[in-house]
Symmetry: C2
Subunit: 200 residues, 2 copies
């Protein structure tokens, strides 16, 4: 089911954090001013925004359609069409395959009222960095198929959902071509599904 | 050349910022605690990390191969294979088609020593939000073809480049399938090139 799961580790061999100072940026964002010795540099200073790891899931119905939801995204002041996603509510050092899988199942339920149908698989598709120039945030990607919608969505604190849309892979492709989809997690999942030939 | 260029505006009709306070998060990151009246909510408080707009360019040679470079990314402590990209060095309110185009040309030259060949086009492919849950950062996407490599790369302050690699679309697809490419800008460009049928 998840034989290919790969845990994303940030701390790397050959890298040494030679200084670190967290500035007070309020309760919701971790902002670190750090200095590193790296494989290429004797000393490099950087400001790093810290975020929890996250999951994003492409949910596929048994007829091959994919499920998108629209979501109000405050920082960009608009509704965006996205695959379901959410943060993994654990310190980074404690993130495990089990927690990642569980977060994916939880997001399907909370954001879509969806669950894995009988015999379904939650297939890991790797992970990616949304903006590695300034944040260590990383998002695990999955294909869940088949899913079925069994309940109402249950938005959590800070979430505001709009409509749900069932799209064929061709319709998803057209939405991307027309820039109607413009968030990295949905683009990354489309890239993975295409590269792995999981959609036509 | 850029008939389809679309400027990404953050401030939207129907949204009102009812309070705003920037916390002191150091010289490199803008962190705002703001409250909004939104189309769906009477009041929503959010922490927003502010970044300059950016560009990312898929450079294609006249033989159809694409050009990747590896780059040391401090926040994620590794080298990553990416298309050339960089920030637009202007306040958001001043960003224009001309500045975006110029930034794309500049990044091709600085990161790859590349320039547009005779008769080449810099084709806009839209823009995307790397992580719209916490930052308004947005990245304009382009296909530049054909490009030619005419000089050495000239890394700017804070940049550290490694190798350059020329890949066919199939090789790019395989790198994505194997999770050897894991940054949103390269995945987003692949998604756009695929959705627009600009690569096979």
């Amino acid at each position: 089911m998840s034989a290919d799961f790969d845990l994303c580790k940030i701390d790397q061999v050959g890298w040494e954090r030679t200084s670190s100072h967290f500035v007070d940026a309020g309760p919701h964002v971790g902002v670190e001013q750090a200095t590193f010795r790296t494989p290429a540099r004797a000393s490099a200073s950087w400001t790093i925004v810290h975020r929890k790891a996250a999951v994003a899931i492409a949910p596929m119905l048994d007829d091959g359609r994919l499920v998108l939801l629209s979501q109000e995204r405050i920082p960009v002041q608009r509704m965006t069409w996205e695959f379901p996603a959410g943060q993994i509510d654990a310190p980074l050092a404690e993130v495990s395959k089990e927690l990642v899988d569980r977060a994916a199942i939880t997001e399907l339920r909370e954001e879509l009222g969806a669950e894995l149908a009988k015999g379904a698989t939650l297939q890991p598709l790797g992970w990616y960095f949304p903006s590695p120039g300034f944040t260590q945030e990383h998002i695990y990607l999955f294909l869940a198929r088949p899913v079925r919608i069994v309940a109402q969505a249950t938005p959590q604190h800070g979430e505001s959902f709009g409509d749900v849309r069932y799209v064929t892979p061709d319709e998803l492709r057209d939405m991307i071509a027309r820039n109607e989809i413009n968030n990295s997690l949905t683009l990354a999942l489309f890239a993975k599904l295409t590269a792995l030939r999981l959609i036509d």
